[in-house]
């Protein structure tokens, strides 16, 4: 394992210290000294009169979530250890910091760990009179959703939830309305991912799974988990079809609909390849009579240096489109 790190056990704090210094105009990282719980807020603090937005989860998915703290998006982000959800004693103060009296929406990715730790934190924050609503993002169609399992995972679609809910909060929506729009995004967003090579967690030191020279892993999550099935390496066109079709089918996309198409890199794949996948996915959507009205291409929800990509489709309506277009000013998303 070769990484640009000092002590692997301190990787998260070291990285956040650099992040804080590089983006001091936008964000503030609290608790870097280890004396207080670690979380990230806006440099200017919570916005009075605005519903607060907090997300969080394991580290290793940068720029998610800390990179999305700022105007038009999150008020606070809570980073756990690499691929490990943060603890309630980090989350609860972040919820409190984001509250200016109009309540806070917690955006949680659907993992047992994240759900349980946020649950506990919400109880703690409510005990301090913070009103908290929670939405659980579960966009990964690689995982079967059933009452008898942990349900689908939350992956790249999280960016759309955070962006759009952030815009709703910024325009002054109340907690119920922000929650409703976040849930509407969740109901209309689906993702599927593929890995060409696994990633290595710093304090583990070896790849999260082993993949042959001519195999790829389809239906991976963002924690270096192995996927649903392993297939022979294939062309971008073939791989994109394996990702896009289940996403579009699960959404039940109809001709005439408008969507956001988001091709996300897992960290170790060149941007040029993401554009190839984007082009292929767009063609497949157009063949279905679906219009790609908005696009995002890049590394936004990563899995350390994993080589691979995911394809996310969000069904748009006029309001979601407007909220997506609304200004945003964060370290990782800016328009």
């Amino acid at each position: 394992m070769k990484k640009l790190l000092d002590d692997p056990e301190n990787a998260v704090a070291d990285s956040l210290a650099g992040f804080a210094a590089a983006h001091a105009d936008l964000v503030e990282v609290r608790g870097l000294d280890g004396a207080q719980p670690l979380f990230v807020t806006r440099a200017a603090g919570a916005v009075p009169g605005k519903v607060g937005l907090v997300s969080g989860g394991g580290s290793g998915h940068e720029p998610l979530h800390a990179g999305f703290v700022g105007d038009g998006m999150l008020d606070a982000a809570v980073p756990g250890a690499v691929f490990t959800s943060p603890t309630p004693d980090q989350i609860a103060p972040a919820l409190q910091a984001a509250d200016t009296g109009r309540g806070v929406l917690a955006i949680v990715k659907n993992y047992t760990g994240d759900v349980l730790n946020f649950e506990t934190a919400v109880e703690l924050a409510e005990a301090e009179d913070v009103e908290v609503a929670t939405v659980v993002v579960n966009d990964d169609v690689a995982v079967e959703d059933s009452l008898y399992t942990a349900g689908r995972r939350g992956v790249a679609g999280t960016v759309a939830v955070e962006k759009i809910a952030g815009a709703a909060a910024a325009r002054g929506d109340d907690l119920a309305a922000v929650t409703a729009v976040a849930q509407r995004v969740i109901d209309n967003v689906r993702t599927m991912g593929v890995a060409l090579a696994a990633c290595t967690v710093p304090h583990v030191g070896k790849p999260s799974f082993d993949l042959g020279d001519d195999e790829i892993e389809v239906g991976i999550g963002i924690h270096g988990e192995p996927g649903r099935h392993r297939v022979p390496a294939a062309t971008a066109s073939e791989v994109t079809r394996l990702l896009l079709e289940p996403v579009a089918d699960d959404l039940g996309l109809q001709a005439g609909e408008r969507v956001l198409l988001f091709v996300n890199g897992m960290g170790g794949t060149p941007l040029s390849e993401l554009y190839v996948v984007y082009g292929r996915a767009r063609s497949l959507l157009e063949q279905r009579g679906v219009t790609v009205a908005r696009s995002l291409v890049g590394d936004y929800v990563t899995s350390l240096e994993m080589q691979g990509a995911s394809v996310t489709v969000l069904r748009l309506d006029d309001e979601l489109e407007r909220l997506w277009d609304a200004p945003v000013r964060t370290p990782a998303l800016h328009w």
Partner: protein, 216 residues
Amino acid sequence: MALDAGWARRWVAESAAAIAAARDDLTELDRQIGDGDHGANLDRGFRAVVAKLEATPAPDGEAEQVGAVLKLVATTLMSTVGGASGPLYGTAFLRASKAASREALDVSSVVALLEAALEGIEARGHATPGEKTMVDAWQPAVEAAAATGGDDPVAVLRAAADAADAGSTATIPLVATKGRASYLGERSAGHEDPGARSTALLLRAAVSAADADDGA
């Protein structure tokens, strides 16, 4: 030997040592069907618990309750482990601490402690036996403990540890329907659940802590 607060403190020390020794094995199990962090998560947690206990000496003069030690374990795990196992073990120790608010445990309070832990995990994780989780180690442990009888609380612990061990091994063929391993569907079969294995280690440490006292 008495299962008193001294035992509980030794239990923590033995647990921390066992987890540190098994860190890589647990990680490897989690790498197979999860995200490869279970060893690191628990190791971080139990090192924190040891530090916390060192910084919190037994109260002067009055006898320390077993539950007081377990409560410290619970809150420290909850705030340092993260992941799924953090809140689950945290809740387990929290409920256990309530069942153990006494100076020493007899047979029935050992059984009650284990039952409370299991109930806590099931409540928090919405898990039932057979889903390839730590419940599959805790549940046979509780059953074996309840069936032991006699008046030796350490024998009860030993029966529980043996059963947890067997229960963990028995998770190998199961298909996971809870936790991260459930994402793998059928591919989760053929691997031991890391949380079940760590449960077996923790209960074994409880026995060693009692035996260590015995030998002393």
